[in-house]
């Protein structure tokens, strides 16, 4: 054996050992994420992009998240199934979309007359909410994390003013989910229509009213051009989106990358609430200036009271159908009661004080 080849062999052996050690600590991962939204959907889509960017920077490129929007995977409401089956590693969507499959998923987005965003985050992180959510998603081999909040959603655009409960009878309104069921209890005909057809449906009186999100996203669909009455919210006071992760994928990640994911999701979700506040305020200023026809309205007290009763009735029914639902509703109601008593003497009192000075 020549000295030269001994040396090469030694170099190779040592290099291999170091490379192996390096690989252990420095394995690279790429996670594929399916989002319910179309490409470049404002605010919601910014949240996944921001999350992916943060994860990549914090991990120094060891963890990459590749986002497929709905135009790519063609299954906006298939995110739950795709992540469960491992077709995608992660999803970004909203928990209440799965209530047809797993009724208890309904409760982790936002509930009519429920907690506002701060109260709900406090419930998730200090009031047992995260644990209940994992109890619901665990059997489906997934982890679910808060994925971005819209804040209080607006009550919707109406072409005619709603002055009494009678005005709601037979009213055709685009409003999906549990809130639609509440509305149905007071006589509304709730329907669901694809976003792209909403403007025309409202313009041609196929529907009389439409609930979407808030000023920033509503403005793009143009409702302010054809409806004068913009109602304040009651039905989704803190719509929280959701990150879903396949549990086998999660378990393969080393502890530092898991923590990077956890913190990046948590920040992205808070950031979306702050982004929503900014974008909604900007859009609302724009609407006020460009569309003086638009008036802010609040449903009369008797309508709120009737919807509040209807909501209680529906919650009672849901609780009677599932022990898990009963447990979640109970936890949320108790937490809301305690948390709201404080919100009333702090945030609400302050905003009301400010509304009276000047």
């Amino acid at each position: 054996m020549k000295i030269r080849s001994v040396l090469s062999a030694a170099v190779l052996a040592v290099a291999t050992t170091f490379a192996a050690a390096q690989a252990l600590a420095q394995d690279k991962f790429t996670l594929r994420l399916a989002e319910t939204w179309g490409p470049n959907f404002p605010i919601f889509g910014d949240t996944t992009k921001r999350f992916a960017e943060t994860v990549n920077k914090m991990s120094d490129g060891r963890l990459t998240v590749r986002i497929d929007s709905a135009n790519k995977h063609k299954a906006p409401l298939g995110v739950f199934d795709m992540v469960k089956a491992g077709q995608y590693d992660m999803g970004h969507s909203a928990s209440y979309y799965w209530k047809g499959k797993v009724p208890e998923t309904l409760f982790f987005t936002s509930m009519p007359f429920g907690m506002n965003a701060m109260e709900q985050y406090a419930w998730f992180y200090h009031g047992g909410g995260m644990e209940l959510m994992q109890e619901v998603y665990g059997p489906h081999n997934m982890l679910s994390f808060p994925g971005g909040n819209t804040g209080v959603q607006m009550g919707g655009w109406f072409r005619k003013e709603i002055k009494s409960l009678d005005d709601l009878k037979g009213l055709k309104m685009r409003i999906p989910g549990f809130a639609g069921e509440v509305f149905a209890e007071v006589g509304v005909n709730p329907t669901n229509i694809a976003p792209g057809e909403l403007y025309t449906a409202l313009e041609r009186n196929t529907i009389d009213a439409v609930e979407w999100v808030g000023p920033a996203l509503d403005l793009r669909l143009g409702f302010q051009q054809i409806a004068d009455y913009y109602y304040t919210g009651w039905h989704e006071p803190a719509t929280e989106l959701q990150f879903l992760i396949n549990k086998r994928v999660w378990d393969r990640l080393p502890a530092d990358l898991q923590e990077i994911m956890r913190v990046a999701m948590r920040t992205a979700s808070y950031d979306m609430l702050v982004h929503s506040q900014h974008a909604n305020a900007e859009a609302w200023a724009n609407i006020k200036q460009e569309y003086p026809n638009v008036q802010i309205k609040r449903f009369p007290d008797d309508i709120f009271q009737a919807m509040y009763e209807a909501n209680k009735k529906l919650l009672k029914e849901a609780a009677s159908e599932s022990e898990m639902a009963a447990k979640i509703i109970d936890s949320q109601q108790n937490y809301l009661e305690q948390s709201r008593a404080y919100s009333d003497i702090s945030e609400r009192a302050y905003l009301n004080t400010m509304a009276e000075v000047e």
Copy 2:
């Protein structure tokens, strides 16, 4: 040369090269952080602990933050100077403590009749607030980041009910800072007293009223035992704490650790707001149950109006004394106006609706 020693030399050379490469990517850093608070100070101190823990986990131990509380460094209000001089790498404090040194630092904590927490985060991250803060801290070789929010602070504990502006004349109250100056304009004698002496001062009528933080921190000091009137807030609607970092220290960190720091600070600050909501609600439930003597009060409208005018006057004075202050006040007022118009039709409308049903 024997084969054996050639081999050893080769191994050594290769090992050294790999170790050097490893070191570059894997240098370890320890940052020393001085906090204004005493050891185990609730909520505020939890924020620095949570931050340090997150940073350590996300960096897989490459970045350690060692926290010194006030009992260690003995200079609770020396944090600015110590971080500036490099005695400490980082600080956790509140920006308004430095207004005696750099008047413009006042504006980055919370202002009377100013933005609430969501509005203020939106201003920091989307309305130019972060850039203005760096303009103020840059000349002192420091970076400043939001460091945790208390939410709306309560207006304080009063032993006698305040029914008119006359009741404020000559009233001795512990209320520091800009809010104290506003109170002084309407006849109050604001004083500052060390936390440990507040209870006795209030009990012995050395002072007539005391402003502290909110239910969670107030409860510990026992004011509810000797004062019946707990007033809603107006003076610190969104008190934001602060992380301070020496710029030379920051510049030495590789890009991935900088991002880990940035995201960990951001999450810790949001998390404190959520933690405050939880802890305040819990403490308020406790006070309501154990101290039925305590009544929530709101200053009469004419008092709010007088303080609102006084605040405007003081802001005008501050703006006339410094171009930078004028620029910040202008930015904050414009942002508040636009943001609040939206908060009024969303968060405020919703909380008021909920207060009326049931």
